[in-house]
Symmetry: C2
Subunit: 352 residues, 2 copies
Amino acid sequence: MIQEERRLAVLRAIVEDYVATEEPVGSKALVERHGLGVSPATVRNDMAALEDEGYIAQPHTSAGRIPTDKGYRLFVDRLTTVKPLSGAERRAISTFLEGAVDIDDVVQRSVRLLSQLTRQVAVVQYPTLSGSTVRHVELVVLTPERVLVVLILSSGRVEQRVVELPAALDEEALATLRSRVLHAATGQRIAEAMEALATLAPDPEELPHGAPSPVPGADPRSVAAVVDVLLEAMSDERSDQRVAVGGAANLARFGDSFDTAVRPLLEALEEHVVLLKLIGEAGSGGLVTVRIGAEGPIEQLSSTSVVSTGYGPGSQSLASLGIVGPTRMDYPSTMAAVRAVAGYVSRILDEG
Amino acid sequence: MIQEERRLAVLRAIVEDYVATEEPVGSKALVERHGLGVSPATVRNDMAALEDEGYIAQPHTSAGRIPTDKGYRLFVDRLTTVKPLSGAERRAISTFLEGAVDIDDVVQRSVRLLSQLTRQVAVVQYPTLSGSTVRHVELVVLTPERVLVVLILSSGRVEQRVVELPAALDEEALATLRSRVLHAATGQRIAEAMEALATLAPDPEELPHGAPSPVPGADPRSVAAVVDVLLEAMSDERSDQRVAVGGAANLARFGDSFDTAVRPLLEALEEHVVLLKLIGEAGSGGLVTVRIGAEGPIEQLSSTSVVSTGYGPGSQSLASLGIVGPTRMDYPSTMAAVRAVAGYVSRILDEG
DNA sequence: GCTTGGCACTCACGACGCGCGAGTGCCAGT
DNA sequence: ACTGGCACTCGCGCGTCGTGAGTGCCAAGC
C-alpha cells in the first residue's frame, strides 16, 4: 500500500471512529479498531502529515485528532462508499409514504420519516408553485357576496381563498367569469396564467373609453376582486416559503455545545426563510448536496452540516428537502436516506 | 399587619424574586428588595413556617428558599394581581392578527405572537371540527373519474380531497349527487351531517331488494366513494389533532437542567397528541387554566408548567391555545398574554 | 526511504482539600 | 410578637496534584 493511499485510509478511519465515539481518536486506538497493518508510530507520522495539510486537528496538544471541516469535505467527496439502505428501511419508507392522502400529508410524513431515519432535524419544503401548471380553477358561491376560489395545481397543491365581492354577481355573470378564467389559466404555467388573468381585470384608466369589458355582464369591481385573489394565490409569496420541520428532539443528541450549536439552530428552525436558504440550491436527480460547517450561508451555524437534495415529479426539482445536523454525522447513511426519501416522494408526486 | 397576611406577602416576594433572579432567595435580600418593614429574623421565622407547610423549600441546607409547586399554586390562586397588557402590546396583537388571510394563517400568527409575548413555547390547536356546522360542500370535476370534494365549515376551515371514482359520473348524475349532498349536510352540525350523508350510500346488503337508490342515475359505487371521503374529512381524526408550535428557541432560556426539562419537552413538541392532552381541558371565556409541574398529565414534564385557555367564535370553546414553560415563570404576565391572544383570536373567528 | 520501537514530554481531567460567605436556626432580650 | 446576636452548615470556587492517554522525535531495522 502506498503512503498516500494509507493516509486517506487513516483519514477515513479517523472520521468513522470520531463519528461513532464522539471522542478524539488516537493512533493506538486506530490501529486496533481498523486492520491497518502498520504500527501506531507510522500512523502518527501520517496523522502529522494530515494535520499539516489541514484535514485533522487536535483540540489541544497531546489529545487525539478530530476531523476538520476540510477533512469531512475530503471524506464526503472521495472516501464515502455508497451505503445502500436496508430492505427494511426501504419498505418502511414506501409503506409510510403510501398512506398519504394529499400533498400536505406527503410533506409531513416525509419530514417525520427523514428525521427518524437520520436521527437529525429534517426540513422539507412544500412544492413550489412556480414550476407547476394550473390544472383547474373553481368558483363556488357561498353567499351572493362571497365566493370561494379554489386553485388546483399540477403539483397537487390546492389553494383556496374566500373573496368578498364589492357587488353581487348573478349566476349567469359568474358562469361567464368562470369560463373566462378557466380559459385563461387552465393548462398554463403559473407565470403565463398570471399574465392571461391580468387581462381580465384591466386597470380602468388604461382601458379605452367605451371598450367592451373582458367579462360582459359582470361588475368589473367584482371581477377584479376575484382575479386579484387568484393572482395573489399564484404569486407564491406565501406558499413558496412554506417548510415543514421535524425531529427537533434529535437536537438533544448534540450533547455538548448547547450554546454554540443548538441555540442558533433552534432559532433558525423558526425562520422558514432562513431554512430555505439552507436547504435550497440543492442538486436534483439523485444528486445530494452536502454543506459542511462554515460552507453554509449562515454564520451562526458554522458547526452544523446540511445534507439536502431537490425533489419533484419527473426529473424537475420543484422543492428541496434535507436534514441539518452536527458536522460530526454519519454522512454515508444520511446521504443515502436523503436521496431515498427524495426519490420516493418524487415518485409519489409523479403518480398524483 | 397580621402574621398570616405577612406570610403570604413573603411567599409572594419569594416567588417574584425567584422568577426574576433564578436564584434561591434569602431573608436579607427579601427585606431589602421589598419594603416589608420587618427584620430579616422575622422573615426567617415566616419562611420556616412556610417551609413546614410545603410552600417553599431549600435546595440544600443553608441556602435561600425557592417556591415549591404548591407554593406556585397558592401564588397563582390567591396572590396574583391582574397585570394588564401594555397598550403597545394590545396594539401589536391586534395589528399582527388583523393581517391574517385564512384560518391557518390566524393559527400560525397566533403561535408566533404568543411565543414572542411570553417568551415561552407556544402551542395553538387548530379549531376542532366537531363543534362547527357545515357551511357548504362543493364537488368539482377534474376528469370524468376524478372529483375534487371541498368541505367548508363554519369555523372557517376548508378541507379538500380528491376522489378517484370507480365509475364515471356524467354531469347530470353529478348535479343530482351535489344537490343531495348539499341538502343532507348544509347547515347541519358535523355529527348530524355525517348521519344524513350515510343514508345516501347505504350498505347494499341492508337495502331491500329493488328499493330505489337514494341518488338515482348515479353509480352507487361512485356515490359511496364520494360520501366516504366526506365522512372521512368530517371524522376530524386528522384535523382534530392538528396543532401549531412555535418559539422552540425559547427553550434555550431553560439554561440549566437540559436533560430533565428541555429534552422531554422537545420530544413532546413532536407528538401532537401529547401536546393536545397538555393544553386541552382548558377553561374558556376568559378563564385561564394553569397547570404547575406534576399537576400535568405527563410525567416527564414534571418541571414544566402549562398556561392555556380555550377559544372560539362566540363564547364556545372550539380549540385550545397556550404556552409551556418552566415552573419558574412570570405567571401574571403569561396568563394575561394567553387570555388576550385567545380573546383576539376568538373575535377574529366571530367576524370570519 | 519507509517503518518501527522506545522514550521523554505535554496537558486535560478528575479527585482532593480548603477557605469564604451567604444563609439558616435558635435563643435571649425587649 | 419582633429583633439582634451568634454559632453552625454547607455549597461554591479555587488551587494543587497525580494519572494516563496521546504525542513528537530519534535512532535502529527492513
